[in-house]
């Protein structure tokens, strides 16, 4: 009897434990979820933002730039009309002909750990960005000769030459906390995973490849954000993005024109169409003999029906550009020479230039076929489709355009080395209309050269008056269009799918999240 009793309890005990364990697992799994915080804003993103450090070189588009906008405040705020407003710097003075800028910081600006933002932090950030050992981008700070903290809240920049780009570009760089980062290896420190800035949001948590969660900073010096939590959700497939927009799991996503039929049917989501400063063009390599003849360039431009392409391929969500600026830029000049679709004229021009059609329809001159290869990055899907259409239209006037899709790394290296007939890519002037590096004599982007343009480019950088600069860049646009320095194609409007009950969203040519701390739920 006793012997028989000794065994069952152990087995029984084991069985009970197993059942209990199973039961608790099941209860935890299907029990009520923990209380959710006040409604978060979930952004759907195709890519992972990459580095969260303001020192990194990241492209100026969603989602790469958005997390830094949330975490790190910069000296100034670039405004939708191209102007510049206060942020960390409440006011500033320009002197010595534009070579010296003194910024006075907002006294109650604080980092997420509560410490105040001081001039030393600005100096530290600029020096770190310019130090090659940190492998940073010195964008905006290229002209800085010296930066000094002349008071706890005052910082003075001395530039090697006066340039109006410094204020908008350098002023838009996020400021790092010196007290946390001094002496650390900024190229590889864990601080890059636990960034501390002075922005309206701080990093709450991040799950690599999945999501990044930002929580609002209470008592922020620019006003506390009304949306308490912002989540970046990484969804690498656009189909999933659309699915989650539909189910409401995300309340924001960038969409393409082809997604519009689906997105427009989603209840509770509206589409915000925002013109940008970005545009696409085909850059010819002027070393190639056939590009030297302006008639050939004009013929190529006239052979492409850019209006129809924008209307059909982009669904009208964008427009043709005729020079190196888009309507979203404050320096845009609509009054430039335009070369509309005119295949007959294109053919006449080519014939006049001595290119005559051979048996297969492609023109020839002195035994040379009129053909070129245009390089395009394999991630630029829309541009590629545009080029496919252009290819057919060019064939009809007897020009053979071959499309070479290249991996971004290969594309860049061949562009560097000048090994191309033509390249198709996007250009984004971002904060300033100046594109000297692309058009100056001696440039490594096709080799276009015009002394008149050179003079204007130089002048544009020495002047700071907005109206004057607008005239100068307007002239440059006119000249570039007249010279057919590029085959300017189109600008795409950004299509933001946003939850309909999200208020406060205001279009901005560079970064939609510029005023995120003013967004709120509710009509």
């Amino acid at each position: 009897m006793t012997a028989a009793w000794r065994r069952p309890p152990r087995r029984l005990l084991g069985l009970c434990l197993a059942l209990a364990g199973l039961g608790s697992v099941l209860a935890a799994a299907w029990g009520p979820p923990p209380a959710a915080p006040a409604r978060p804003l979930v952004l759907g993103s195709l890519e992972e933002p990459g580095s969260l450090s303001p020192l990194a070189d990241l492209p100026h588009h969603f989602p790469a730039d958005a997390p830094q906008t949330l975490l790190f405040d910069s000296l100034i705020q670039y405004l939708p009309d191209g102007g510049v407003g206060p942020k960390l710097a409440q006011r500033w003075e320009v002197s010595a002909g534009g070579r010296v800028l003194t910024f006075h910081l907002t006294p109650n600006a604080r980092f997420h750990d509560g410490r105040p933002v001081t001039a030393e932090d600005v100096r530290f950030t600029v020096e770190a960005a310019s130090n090659p050992a940190t492998k940073s981008s010195d964008e905006g700070f290229e002209a800085v000769e010296k930066v000094e903290a002349i008071g706890p809240q005052a910082v003075r920049f001395t530039l090697t030459r006066a340039t109006p780009r410094f204020l908008s570009e350098g002023g838009s760089r996020g400021i790092l906390p010196k007290h946390l980062l001094e002496g650390r290896d900024l190229g590889r420190d864990p601080v890059n995973r636990q960034p501390v800035g002075s922005g309206a949001y701080r990093l709450a948590s991040s799950t690599p490849g999945q999501s990044i969660v930002f929580d609002a900073v209470p008592d922020h010096y620019r006003g506390s954000p009304k949306i308490g939590r912002v989540v970046f959700k990484i969804l690498p497939d656009q189909n999933i993005v659309l699915t989650q927009l539909r189910s409401g799991e995300i309340q924001y996503a960038l969409v393409e024109p082809r997604d519009l039929p689906v997105v427009e049917k989603i209840q509770g989501v509206r589409v915000l169409e925002v013109p940008t400063t970005r545009f696409y063009d085909i850059t010819p390599n002027f070393q190639r003999p056939y590009w030297e003849d302006r008639r050939v360039r004009e013929a190529v431009l006239r052979a492409m029906d850019r209006e129809a392409i924008v209307k059909r391929l982009l669904g009208g969500r964008g427009q043709v550009v005729h020079s190196n600026a888009t309507p979203a830029s404050w320096a845009y000049n609509p009054d430039v020479p335009r070369y509309g679709y005119d295949p007959a004229r294109a053919q006449a021009l080519l014939a006049e230039a001595g290119w005559l059609a051979a048996s297969d329809g492609i023109r020839e001159k002195a035994g040379q076929r009129l053909g070129f290869a245009v390089m395009v990055k394999n991630v630029d899907r829309t541009l590629e489709q545009v080029l496919v259409v252009a290819q057919q239209q060019l064939k009809q006037v007897g020009v053979e355009m071959r499309i070479e899709r290249l991996e971004p790394g290969v594309f860049t290296s061949r562009m560097r080395a000048g090994q191309f007939d033509a390249l198709g890519r996007i250009w984004n002037p971002v904060y300033d209309p100046d594109q000297s590096v692309l058009y100056r004599t001696g440039n490594r982007y096709g080799g276009y050269s015009n002394p008149e343009v050179d003079a204007l480019l130089a002048k544009g950088l020495t002047v700071s008056d907005r109206a004057q600069r607008r005239r100068i860049y307007g002239d440059i646009q006119r000249l570039l269009a007249g010279d057919i320095a590029r085959f300017y194609l189109y600008t795409e409007n950004e299509l933001h799918a946003v939850a309909a009950d999200l208020a406060g969203v205001a279009p901005h040519p560079v970064n939609l999240f510029w005023n995120l701390n003013a967004w709120a739920w509710g009509r």
């Binding site: 697992v25 979820p33 978060p40 070189d57 999945q210 999933i240 699915t243 790394g409």
Partner: protein, 317 residues
């Protein structure tokens, strides 16, 4: 046995060494280095590129770079990712968990489903069930996994709404085990499907061929029941090649599936690989290839050990 293990360990190291060497050389030869990617085309000048290359140590000779890397590895330092600005090993490790979870579960599912379906089909050879299973398996193998994945999402997530479409877990409820389990269903099924189907076909043929062999006929002639014959004799005989295939399958899963990860937004190392190639993020690629090499060789080794244990006749000469 010891000699066998020793020899295999040497082979492992040798394979890893050559693998890393090849990857190193190829990466350096590829046009467009990290400097160009890091600087971005608009800020590029040859002087800046030279500066960046110097900082990254890329201007030294190839053998010297390799030597430095190998030495660093022995010190436990596997390089820093250019893009993420963090140690490469950290970048890979944080995504490895997701890949292991997905790959491990998919492997278990494909093994269980594949073997059972194969045995079932073999046991009912010639019947309609057998034909259905065999044809079904062939159709599954023939379906590209992207297609299968999207189809499942359309079916279960969009139309039926019973399963989530992407990600590891719902945001904000990462600890919710039930939700995590639900998020696992579709990716695991998609990943396991093709391998399960081929394993089923293979198991079926292996079991059939063993069933037809003499010793089974003998056993049955001696009165053993069908089921006993199946489970005791057949499976153990057929197990050897099945185990070998399973080993290769496991290695394949653990290398990370780009397609499944992309379609389901699963943050594993498959996506990291393609992104890193595009970014020329050498340190991360080297760590990933180390991992891949280790996984493959280890999986093979385990399969070999298992088969040796199960069938001593397969000992190598």
């Amino acid at each position: 046995m010891i000699a066998f293990l020793l020899r295999r360990s040497v082979e492992l190291l040798l394979t890893l060494g050559v693998l890393v060497l090849v990857v190193f050389v190829v990466l350096r030869l590829a046009p467009g280095g990290p400097a160009q990617v890091l600087l971005g085309p608009d800020r590029y000048t040859p002087a800046l590129e030279a500066r960046v290359n110097h900082v990254l140590g890329l201007d030294r000779s190839l053998p010297e770079q390799m030597g430095r890397w190998v030495r660093a590895v022995f010190e436990g330092e596997l390089g820093v990712s250019y893009f993420h600005r963090r140690p490469a090993s950290e970048v890979v490790l944080e995504r490895l968990g997701a890949t292991l979870l997905l790959g491990g579960l998919a492997f278990a599912l494909s093994l269980a489903a594949g073997v059972s379906v194969g045995v079932l089909a073999a046991a009912r050879q010639g019947s309609r069930l057998d034909r259905l299973l065999s044809h079904g398996a062939v159709a599954v193998i023939a379906t590209p996994s992207f297609w299968l994945g999207i189809g499942l999402i359309l079916l279960c997530s969009v139309w039926l709404g019973i399963l989530p479409s992407a990600g590891l877990a719902p945001i904000g409820r990462e600890g919710d085990l039930g939700a995590r389990l639900r998020h696992l269903v579709l990716p695991v099924v998609t990943m396991a499907a093709s391998h399960a189907a081929s394993l089923a076909l293979y198991t079926r043929s292996a079991v059939l061929s063993v069933l037809a062999s003499d010793f089974v006929r003998t056993a049955r002639a001696m009165g053993a029941s069908t089921r006993r014959v199946l489970w005791r004799h057949t499976l153990s005989a057929a197990a050897v090649p099945i185990i070998t295939v399973a080993g290769l399958t496991l290695a394949h899963f653990l290398e990370g599936s780009i397609v499944v990860e992309t379609v389901f937004g699963w943050p594993g190392i498959g996506q990291l690989t393609t992104a890193s190639v595009a970014r020329r993020d050498y340190p991360v690629l080297l760590v990933i290839s180390l991992w891949a090499g280790i996984v493959v060789v280890t999986a093979n080794l385990m399969a070999d050990l298992l088969t040796r244990w199960m069938d001593p006749r397969t000992v190598e000469e």
